[in-house]
Amino acid sequence: MLEIRNLHVSVDDKPILHGLDLAVQAGEVHAVMGPNGSGKSTLAQVLAGRDSFTVTRGEVRYLGRDLLALPPEERAREGIFLAFQYPVEIPGVANIYLLKSALNALRKHRGEAELDAMDFLALVRDRLKLMGMDEALLYRPVNQGFSGGEKKRNEILQMALLEPKLAILDETDSGLDIDALKVVADGIESMRSPQRAIILVTHYQRLLDYVVPDRVHVLSHGRIALSGGPGLAQELERRGYAWVDEMQIAAPGPGTTGETAS
């Protein structure tokens, strides 16, 4: 579904990603882990089409197409969804208005009729319940005055409504208390499907206790330094990220990715 080859990304001429490779198939859940500042959000934002990052080399193919050639809205309509690490507040725009506009933009793109108000509300209510969210949040401005946890839930609510083919969740687990984490994890888990791929970007292994990934990748110094099965997350938790760097020094080499047994 997604294939990233030798991706190099800079911001303001400062290289952040250099030579990142990653392949994700439909039905898979991948975790991308790494220390703060390793470029996880950069990767997520580049995949969603943020233009403040410059791709200097490499390519990204999504469902056989050149992803980087598409503007962000086209990517969204083609089924890519990014849950933001820092969801943006939009004063003056009601949450429900955004949800409806987003869903209808997708439906229109797929040649489907727009949902009428009743059907739409029924659908949103169903997803709200899944996320344990209060209906009042629908009528508040997008993310404005939401608590940290409410913002993260709101991202997953949008995902549950838009039913993407490829979901990229950028630290959706951070800042959540244990109850909220459980709700969010259940929401993600319920989205698991043979037609869908999910990339969980996370700093901690916590979320992965609830949503067990098929593959775990460690991002370090702008590339995937290490890939493995779910056990890699626990190993990282035990040994810390410095361990990955030590392994890199021990076995350097362009384009090599270390493998550990899972």
Binding site: P71, V88, I90
Partner: protein, 445 residues
């Protein structure tokens, strides 16, 4: 360089003097010597002051050249015929409606029979003829006119509305004053006098609209006097074409514990200027000044507000927002004066501007003068573009770039509409804002 300019200005003043002399003996109340004298004196004052120049501090960013060069004519009455359905489309449902066409009251198009006892509404032209006691005092002294435009207005005023709310009178429905201009090259001078006796309460919509593509100059003055505990909400709505000019003054005087709320929604003209002055003259008086200006194309919109805290324990709140597109130009000058002895004054002023194009321009200036020590005063002014994070967030949800920008622009402006309590006006304003968006938005759910 200066010589030809001032010659033009002198010519422009003389043009209005000639026009004034031409129609002087046809103006309402011409048979009253005191009024004829007032008009002459006012005209003389106008000639002395002359049109303001860019050198004048209050007109630094606003050139009145479109007025000087417009060769506008004066007329005591109008022969214009206006379509009833055109008025119907503009009238706010449920409001008491007072229609003025080219500066003259048209009773036929108005609808004021549902006004309750205690509320009287008379055309100024009728009052000038009738000459009731106290009218001269209400029109004020020539020396007190704050600007050349105010003096010109007093000399040339043809009509306007006089509203009197007796003690304790509370209007449920708003009064909609609809000023429509139709005749090409016409200068319209209207004067409105609103008097709210103690404990009275009303909402007044002053709505100036041009029709078609005719070039008009409106010079209007509205005086509002609020007695103790009176409440007046005054909405001003200005929508004229790019060949027209609009100069407006609103002067409100507030007695103790009274409350005045003013909003100014300006869609602009070649030149639109509004001076809003509020005198907090009684302890515990409160005012709220809201404004939204939307210059695009080559429109120019200038707001000068002035709030005088003359007495203790008064509160003023001011929020003005601007959306500037094309080569539109905006000016906001918010002056706040806290006079000695006005202790416990509480004042906050905010001006926020959204620049949508490289050619659009805004000059914003807060002017705080504080002569008392136990006061709470704040001000803030911002000028910025649409937030890139917000645009990206919306696009990442499938909204195209133009829709995302239109939505964010709408949201910025709509805040000012949501503050309007009158649903019919909110709806009207909402429609107007949408016409100024670069892209149409589907109806809100």
């Amino acid at each position: 360089m200066n010589a030809p300019l001032s010659a033009t200005r002198r010519d422009a003043c003389h043009h209005f003097l000639d026009e004034f002399r031409r129609i002087r003996d046809t103006l309402p109340g011409r048979q009253r010597p005191w009024l004829a004298h007032l008009r002459d004196q006012a005209m003389q004052r106008f000639m002395e002051m002359g049109f303001p120049t860019l050198r004048s501090e209050d007109w630094k960013y606003t050139s009145v050249a479109p007025i000087e060069n417009g060769l506008f004519t004066l007329a005591a009455c109008t022969s214009a015929v206006i379509d009833r359905s055109a008025i119907g489309a503009l009238a706010l449902p449920g409001a008491h409606l007072v229609v003025f066409v080219d500066g003259r009251h048209v009773p036929d198009l108005s609808r004021t029979d549902a006004l309750p006892d205690g509320a009287t509404l008379t055309s100024l032209a009728v009052l000038l003829e009738r000459n009731p006691r106290g009218l001269a005092a209400q029109l004020g002294h020539v020396d007190d006119y704050p600007s050349a435009f105010a003096a010109l207005n007093a000399a040339c005023m043809t009509d306007g509305v006089c509203v009197h709310l007796a003690r304790g009178t509370r209007l449920e429905a708003p009064i909609h004053l609809l000023f429509v201009t139709t005749s090409d090259k016409l200068a319209v001078h209207t004067r409105n006098l609103i008097v709210a006796e103690p404990d009275s309460c009303a909402t007044i919509v002053e709505h100036h609209v041009g029709t078609g593509t005719t070039s008009c100059f409106t010079n209007t003055v509205t005086d509002i006097a609020l007695a103790e505990r009176a409440r007046i909400v005054h909405h001003k709505l200005q929508q004229e074409n790019t060949r027209s000019c609009h100069v407006a003054a609103i002067n409100a005087q507030l007695a103790a514990e009274s409350r005045f709320a003013s909003t100014s929604f300006a869609l602009g003209a070649a030149l639109a200027r509004a001076d809003i002055r509020v005198a907090l003259d009684g302890a515990g008086a409160e005012c709220t000044l809201d404004g939204l200006y939307l210059p695009d194309g080559r429109r120019h919109i200038d707001h000068h507000t002035r709030i005088d805290h003359n007495q203790p324990r008064c509160t003023s709140r001011e929020l003005y927002k601007g959306v500037l597109d094309g080569a539109g130009r905006g000016v906001f000058n918010g002056r706040l004066v806290v006079h000695p002895g006005a202790q416990k004054s509480d004042a906050a002023q905010t001006n926020r501007n959204l620049l949508l194009s490289e050619l659009a321009e805004i000059d914003t200036k807060p002017q705080l003068e504080i002569w008392a020590d136990d006061v709470k005063c704040s001000h803030a002014a911002t000028v910025g573009q649409l937030d890139a994070d917000q645009v990206f967030y919306l696009r990442s949800r499938g909204l195209d770039d133009a829709t995302a920008r239109a939505l964010l622009t709408y949201a910025f402006a709509a805040e000012m509409i949501q503050r309007v309590e009158l649903p019919s006006l909110r709806q009207h304003l909402d429609g107007l804002i949408r016409t100024r968006l670069p892209q149409s938005l589907e109806a809100l759910p």
